[in-house]
Symmetry: C2
Subunit: 319 residues, 2 copies
């Protein structure tokens, strides 16, 4: 049987749904974008997506050239192919999105959560090529994770494993959107670091260029720019954030002894500013038998196409 040369990847986010048609060399040969909200019900959303896809599918020679489709979405469940109770998407309850796209397009469709998709992409195309055991940490609005053990995604009994952003790292710590307190995400997400900045700015009198910005505008990017200029308070904020992340990773190592931790998105763009404190706290806190084994790496899938590539990697999983 002829091997079909392309897969479709969909990175489904709260704002945009980004589609790419991807070849076996990880090139996005065609792409399109649909707003995620504003379609009425989810059936209309899928119809509108399929309409938007038609021209780029024709561009590569028609649907017969497409092997399969992969979707990365918040709260995506690989086993059921459904999005389950995603707080930031317009549809409530369980949405069998893989099945809906499969029926409309006539090709197999796989779906998983966005962090798992990122891990798949990293394994197929990025920093985790050839690795059998690694942990992907996505630092965005929230903190997500995709865990690979023995070359396979860790999905758990319910398809929902790998929520390391909701490991409690500080008892009675910061209030989390999940209803509990002290989750990793409340410290190391984009909102977490902004919260740290506000706390530190309110607590200290130290001179810092961050005071030139309205307090509610002090975000990851502003802190990064200040830190690059050597601003001591901005550096303190990265030290604090990286330490919490490094300590958490030291605990995660006791679980799966990964070959690498791979950091993706938002804060990871601060590069050494965050990676050095992570590495330092990790080395100081990890159990001796693991010391020096796991590499701390940045994603090699930077740029807008990364999440689409990650989702598309799922498509190649279809045999």
């Amino acid at each position: 049987m002829e091997q079909k040369p392309y897969v479709i990847g969909l990175d489904l986010g709260g704002t945009n749904s980004e589609f790419g048609i991807v070849d076996r060399n990880a090139h996005i040969v065609a792409s399109t974008r649909v707003k995620t909200a504003g379609h009425g019900d989810v059936t209309q959303y899928v119809d509108d997506c399929v309409a938007a896809l038609q021209p780029i599918i024709e561009q590569v020679g028609g649907i017969d050239k497409i092997h399969a489709m992969g979707i990365g979405a918040p709260n995506g469940n690989y086993y059921s192919g459904s999005i389950e109770f995603a707080p930031n998407l317009p549809w409530k309850g369980k949405i069998p999105l893989a099945q809906m796209f499969s029926e409309r397009l006539g090709i197999p469709v796989r779906l998983t959560n966005d962090a798992n998709a990122a891990a798949m992409g990293e394994m197929q195309y990025g920093a985790a090529r050839g690795m059998q055991n690694f942990i992907m940490i996505t630092l965005g609005t929230g903190v997500g994770s995709g865990i690979v053990v023995n070359g396979q995604m860790v999905l758990g009994c319910d398809g929902m494993a790998g929520e390391l952003g909701h490991v409690i790292v500080e008892k009675d710590g910061r209030q989390c959107g999940c209803g509990r307190k002290g989750c990793l995400e409340t410290y190391c997400s984009a909102t977490g670091i902004a919260r740290t900045a506000r706390e530190i700015l309110e607590k200290t009198d130290k001179a810092t260029s961050l005071r030139n910005i309205p307090l509610d505008k002090v975000d990851g990017l502003a802190i990064t720019l200040a830190a690059r200029e050597g601003d001591a308070v901005a550096l303190d904020i990265f030290e604090y954030t990286g330490r919490i992340l490094g300590e958490a990773c030291a605990n995660f190592a006791a679980f799966s002894s990964p070959e690498a931790f791979i950091f993706f998105g938002g804060l990871s763009k601060a590069d050494d500013l965050i990676m050095k404190p992570i590495q330092k706290a990790y080395d100081e806190n990890v159990l001796q038998i693991y010391r020096g084994k796991a590499k701390m790496l940045l994603s090699e899938l930077d740029g807008a196409g990364a999440a689409v590539l990650g989702a598309s990697a799922l498509g190649w999983e279809v045999k």
Copy 2:
């Protein structure tokens, strides 16, 4: 080819090395025991073990009836078949024990750490039959763990994964033998609960039958007996211990979303006294999407043969 009917299991502990010949129905048909220490070097230890095994091997019809051997040992590395830097064994450094037994017996030998062996046993013969995702927690002198994901042991990049007893659950908490502070093991092992008892007894004036025992003799068994009589302080000690364990398991769920946590050894014998506080703290602390999914189970391999059965399960892994 005729299927050979038996495997040898070796539970290698700090005091005794327990051998069993096990059939496919998990019956230990013959057994023997050798002291672990006192043999001079490890070569002599293996020679003495093989000599002790000869009569029971003859008893089942000779070595041709033995499919393979499995060893569970502290700090056992599945990949290398070696024991690596085990603090409580008489041999230092890396000991290629699987290879040594294999050369002397002429059969394949697999080795892993004792908690992984317990998990294998539970999957093959016990409470985890049919499960693809579970976490075994062994509560002994230390706290060990064996993690199964997608039906496979989690071994990590180095064969040493699954040391959940050394997850730090309390920052700047109790001093652990590993050199760090606040490890789960310092609270939930046999020595951990004794330490809790001493702390609580010194801190409170509450009447308790535990004061009738010399402070250095207050151990898990004494606390269990008092708690069964309704002793309020003994019950407090279990509440405290179970809460820490339940909170830790809630964090572990975010990793692999297991179908069950299975508790084995020492403290687990206290049954409801420890299991109820574990369950309560777990339910209160686990992320909502996991709530009600993982069962909290006791090992079904209680009794002296359990560890031998667990080790023997490794033997059946040999194809």
